[in-house]
Amino acid sequence: MAGANATNYGRPIIQVSHLSKVYSNDSVETVALADVSFEVREGEFVAIMGPSGSGKSTLMHILGALDTPTSGTYVLDGKNVGQLSRDELAAIRNKNIGFVFQAYNLLPRTTALKNVMIPMAYARVPKTERLKRATALLDRVGLGDRIDHASNQLSGGQQQRVAIARAMAMNPSIILADEPTGNLATAQGEEIIAIFQDLNDQGHTIVMITHEPYIAEHAKRTVFIQDGRIVKDTDSHTSKRAFVQKEH
């Protein structure tokens, strides 16, 4: 399947093979992912679509090194994630991947600026550098005038923009976004997608879960997941569009 997706993008940066995740809860086993294999190349913008409970969030968490698979391997930028120590995983979450959550997940009662500086604190970036970078990032997502606002004083769209700035704090090559527009009105959602589009244009690899076909249109490739399996994977803009038109 990976071979079929080979396009004019760079080297593979995410390689998962035979990934599965089973949750056991009081003798009841729930299969969230069943034998998922695919590849993401540097500079791609991949949309992941699928109904609720299809396992796409689970896949996203494993890709973000927030969760571990039951079986299968995940190679990130040449490193086998399954063999890394807890500290090495922390470093990956810190430097290689920026994660954007549906629920923003900002620290409440904490300013936008401080929220963006958190990953840099864990990376021991010097204070002055942190301030400079965080200010620039907030400026870039259009919140230059709100850096001292507490996160809970901001609107949903503004909070998500702070979250994107935070994901960008360590300038990671990969940005994973789990339904970043799910809690937002369409207009705000479009602004957020524009930012992701912009980041992708600058060379960041983006993997994004979305429910909205119009958002998936921004992606260069869409992966459809159902019942823990990849049911369709488009590797070109045209074929994806054809699929969407057929579905709707």
Partner: protein, 407 residues
């Protein structure tokens, strides 16, 4: 994260929930405060007892009539009638006894003293002039008993300052005034200088009268309550004890020293016993205080556990942003240690203040137990680490997504 930054983050987290922080700290404040106050008070009373006993005279031996065996029943120690005036005289005049400087025969009972409309129950002590030398008693006004007073069985009394203030509250000079002890009229001839002490230890609530008067007129007995002996120096105490002991055994025709009808104590014996009593008391107080400290520590652990549960999502978030296990541990540990150290410091202030107030109310000298302060601060730091470590590690071990999903 850097050390200073961890502290700042911890402080910010504590500030966000002031009420919980204050309540958690309260346990440690009370615990540390109690330890310092109780230990300081215990040491102060120990010191007081020691100085009081030492003020009685440092090279003094006390001969008490021993327990008497009558028909197999052993009577109370000190309740016997085996010491006589002749024993005292013989000790003083014996040529075999070379280490004794002064001998003071004494008979002490409690009785009612009446002076005009005032009366009180005080210690009535029959003594000779030697008492003043052996017990280091001085008079602040008037004079002490003379040999003539004793020989002539005079009805004169030297009162302690507490007795004076109870019997003559008006403040007029009591010298020459008349008082009644057991319905016998006495003339006040002197007032002793205060020796201090409170309650049962009060050496100032006393009326000293001639020994002969006490024996024949007041109490109607012919034996002695005790004989106080001053050794020539502190170095010959043991020798003096042996000499007096064997001399009295011979006088009482007792061959087996274990059947002696008297006993001899030195000040050191009494000091040792008293120090042991107050030491036990201090230990008991410290034990109670330690328990309260422990309870305070458990309170902190409780709060830290709740904090961890409450902030599980925050932990998940921080981990998803790259916090390592040790970043999470040190953040929560820093919070716990700040709680206990600040609490310990406040407790120290309260403990010192409390022991100052109580010691001034009880008339004890104010002593600050440095060891208690160091111990309390050390213990509070340790409590912070021990009771903070468990919740902190628990928080750090969570997988980021488990923590983020936590409701």
């Amino acid at each position: 994260m850097e050390f200073f930054e961890t502290l700042t983050t911890a402080l910010e987290a504590l500030k966000l929930n002031k009420m919980r922080t204050a309540l958690a700290m309260l346990g440690i404040v009370i615990g540390i405060g109690a330890v310092i106050a109780l230990v300081s008070l215990g040491q102060a009373s120990q010191q007081t007892v020691q100085t009081q006993i030492q003020s009685l005279g440092s090279n003094m031996l006390t001969v008490s009539p021993g327990a008497q065996n009558s028909g197999g029943i052993r009577g109370a120690s000190g309740g016997g009638t085996t010491l006589t005036n002749d024993d005292a005289k013989a000790i003083a005049s014996s040529t075999q006894i070379t280490t004794v400087a002064k001998v003071s025969p004494e008979l002490s009972r409690r009785a009612q003293i009446i002076a005009g409309r005032n009366n009180e129950n005080a210690q009535i002590l029959g003594a000779t002039p030697a008492y003043a030398d052996v017990r280091k008693v001085t008079v602040s006004s008037g004079r002490f008993l003379s040999q003539q007073d004793v020989d002539g069985m005079q009805r004169v009394a030297v009162l302690g300052p507490t007795a004076i203030s109870n019997l003559f509250p008006s403040g007029a000079s009591p010298i020459g005034q008349s008082i009644r002890i057991s319905n016998i009229s006495f003339r006040v001839i002197g007032v002793t200088t205060s020796k201090g002490g409170t309650g049962f230890m009060n050496q100032d609530d006393i009326a000293i009268i001639p020994l002969t008067t006490a024996q024949k007129l007041v109490f109607g007995v012919n034996y002695l309550g005790s004989i106080s002996i001053e050794a020539k120096s502190a170095d010959v105490m043991n020798q003096a004890r042996d000499q007096v002991g064997y001399f009295l055994l011979a006088r009482h025709k007792i061959t087996n020293p274990y059947q002696a009808d008297f006993s001899i104590f030195s000040q050191e014996d009494i000091l040792g016993a008293a120090t042991q009593v107050t030491g036990t008391f201090t230990m008991l107080l410290s034990g109670i205080a330690t328990i309260s400290l422990l309870v305070g520590g458990i309170g902190i652990m409780n709060v830290m556990l709740i904090t961890v549960i409450e902030r599980t999502r925050e932990i998940g978030l921080r981990k998803s942003l790259g916090a390592r296990d040790r970043d999470v541990v040190s953040q929560f540990l820093a919070e716990a240690v700040i709680l206990t150290v600040v609490g310990g410091f406040l407790g120290m202030i309260i403990g010192v203040g409390l022991s100052y107030i109580i010691s001034s109310l009880m008339g004890l000298p104010f002593t600050l137990s440095l060891s208690a302060v160091i111990l309390a601060i050390g213990v509070s730091g340790a409590i912070g680490i021990v009771f903070g470590l468990y919740p902190a590690r628990k928080a750090a071990r969570l997988s980021p997504i488990e923590a983020l999903r936590f409701e």
